[in-house]
Symmetry: D2
């Protein structure tokens, strides 16, 4: 088993946002963003990655972080925020399968809007003798500044980025069970199973024909999300210097080697 | 003139993120989210709204906030972050037109990746005797928790929300020059010109047939984004209690009255 | 009346920190510091100053900030923190008298550890036609880096700074009803009534003989704490360049002129 | 060797605060407090403690945190703040001796206001086979709410707390080489060598006669600051229930056993 994913769900958040009456939107935005930032620091300094996805539900890659780390995260949030979080952990070669497991563990404990269901911690992290290999692909848009940011109004630039993201996220999910997240600017990070350079080229070709946006991608792997993601960033820099569209930080894995 | 928009652009951000070599992704995520949160607090406590859009470029509704407020925002960011921001201000009845103006003002001062272009403040806020009317529509998904969050894995829930957002953002932009932003959970906020209930129903119908997701919407207006947005939240609560799909906090404007 | 002070008290904080059992100290430190930072941003961007004093009780100079601003501060804290705050407002020429009034207003509503006493907002801000003049004195230690930081271990440097602070705070409180706060490094800021250069020189002489630490001071006045404090910082820079120990940003007030 | 201390020094901070001209005080306060809060989270979630002392110089107890953790802290600050930090590490049975070593390591690399001296990392953490024992004493004031907070104005309450702190910090430093820090409310935390109940009673007696304030203390020990500090908090709760003034979480060490 390779990827360990954690679903982070704010407990009973929807009702809280409108009780006793709707709360100021900018306070909600501030609270959500800072909660995400704190989780990013907590997990990030332990080699993990977290993506904000819907903010009330976040998805984290937590290879290398055990049960004690998860409990500590719940505790520090409870001590500093007006909300609490439930955590579900899943592990599998295919990220979507790991997330299925993580999500089911939380769902089994009750609805996201069940007042009595708080601070669930369900599912099992990898054992220290399990294989831990994460594959991260870091995509960006070719010359986004020159083609969009410096040419169009910001919303229209954003529409192009958003289209490429919507197209890529659905393609990678369906073709490979990979999970893709927009992380700001013109950057998309995908948590992937082991894929070939041709698989990545096909994804790029799909987005170009479907959404009209040209992407490139750097791919890395490692024992933690940070290791894999950092290798992917270096590979993406290689694309920039070489003018190529797919680069691996190390030779792609032969089938079955991890 | 009604809507006042401010484009907030981090100066030369792309190059900074990879200089001297790529920075840790979770540090970038933390920095971006906290910068957004601080801007949300600064503008939000003055009646404004800000949306993170691409994080390196954010779009704010700033009716009621003048030049001094914009300068103060630039100063406090410079004093506390490793980056600076440029601001462009535009005003128009149609949000997309206001954003065109705001964006052009910044673009005229140089590229987003021009090292010498920092802390631009361009464009003019509304005068105190100008009409200031903001229209905000707050959409959400009908029973998102029951249909998605408690049923599907989190990424697949997110795909549905994302599809509805992509569909709505493009429709509202093209049909009305409105700017729509995902704000977390199953919520989308649109900054709109004056529109009729039929216009909103048509948007909802479009998303249902295009993306298969059922939305409802509360609409408000006011002198500031907060006033309009807060009225919209109350109208959305009315939808919830009445089982309706479009509610205005007050009778929709007769053509031409604002 | 000149100085407007606001006492900010976290409601029922002591019991919360040990319920249901003691909370992690570093979480408490984080929560307190961020709450203070958020209040500093909120008030600071409106011309106010806040000092952390005991963290569970903070003292703010709020000239220019009315009832609506105070209510907005309470709302944004309630929406984003696990605690709430009560606010008491007092106004007087002498800061200690203003604080007496502010404190009594909160005490009259119940004990700081009364569970039922939350979000008190008591006392009256200055009217817009009242005189609003704040006097701020900004002290620092002569050559603190050369004499302490680069010579002693950090705790022993800190002991010298702390001694000078303890000596100054008691002297200024007793002699003039002024309120003095350590603000980091070797800096102390005093909120003062109208005082003469001789009064300040006497304070510096007292600290030198009592605690053996040589201070200098810049003094400013203005309609808000920021205006006065910023003028004081410039006056302190004048001390640095001139080698003097007391500088006023403008000629000291003739008795009675404000 | 038992206690491992890290001195955290913001590089060239004084000059930065007034370049090119003085920065807004509330921005400095916000930046300092958030930097402290981030360090508290980073070290705290690894079992460490940090005290803000002068804010531009902070003192941390870092038993259990190695060189890699220190480097990671420097990196995340550099990526998110406009300032950088230097770190000096020292280890000894007596906290003041450990801090001497930590401070000398940084001073040897240059002045705190030397522009060219940035991100020093000097000194050696404990080896994994060294003894790691931290002693933490958590003091508070008997009935501070009833005697001070609910009776006096906030500044006068603060003066009493401050007096007790000044008295205790100097006594513990001179008598035992212990380092004591005010942590908010009526709480003081001391990092101590191994001391007897009589030693603590003598400290309390000294403060009562010197400053007129009655303290009590809980004492704990552990392999990390958090373990020791958490035990101390529980012991302090014991004082509260028993009405005693000195409690150890476990029987005090026989001389020489750690």
């Amino acid at each position: 088993m390779t990827t360990q994913l954690t679903l982070i769900q704010i407990d009973n958040y929807g009702p809280w946002t409108v009780t006793p009456e709707p709360r100021r939107e900018m306070d909600l935005q501030t609270m959500q963003s800072r909660l995400f930032a704190d989780i990013a620091q907590f997990l990030g300094s332990r080699g993990g990655y977290v993506f904000f996805s819907r903010f009330d539900n976040m998805i984290a890659v937590t290879n290398g972080i055990g049960r004690a780390g998860h409990t500590a995260l719940q505790e520090t949030i409870r001590n500093r925020y007006p909300v609490t979080v439930s955590l579900g952990i899943g592990t599998a070669d295919t990220p979507a399968v790991a997330l299925d497991e993580a999500t089911e563990k939380i769902q089994a404990a009750g609805s996201a809007q069940d007042e009595g269901r708080t601070e669930v911690l369900a599912g099992d992290p990898l054992d220290s003798d399990d294989d831990s290999t994460v594959h991260i692909a870091h995509f960006d848009v070719n010359d986004a500044t020159g083609k969009y940011t410096d040419q169009l109004n910001e919303f229209d630039s954003f529409i192009h980025i958003e289209r490429s993201y919507a197209s890529l996220m659905e393609y990678m999910r369906e073709a490979h069970g990979a999970l893709s997240f927009f992380v700001g600017g013109d950057n998309i990070i995908s948590v992937c199973p082991s894929l070939s350079p041709d698989d990545y080229q096909a994804a790029i070709d799909h987005v170009e024909s479907d959404a009209g946006v040209a992407l490139k991608v750097g791919v890395g792997r490692g024992e933690t999300a940070h290791d894999a993601g950092y290798a992917a960033k270096h590979a993406l820099e290689d694309c920039r210097y070489e003018g190529t569209s797919v680069e691996f930080d190390q030779p792609p894995a032969t089938t079955g080697d991890d």
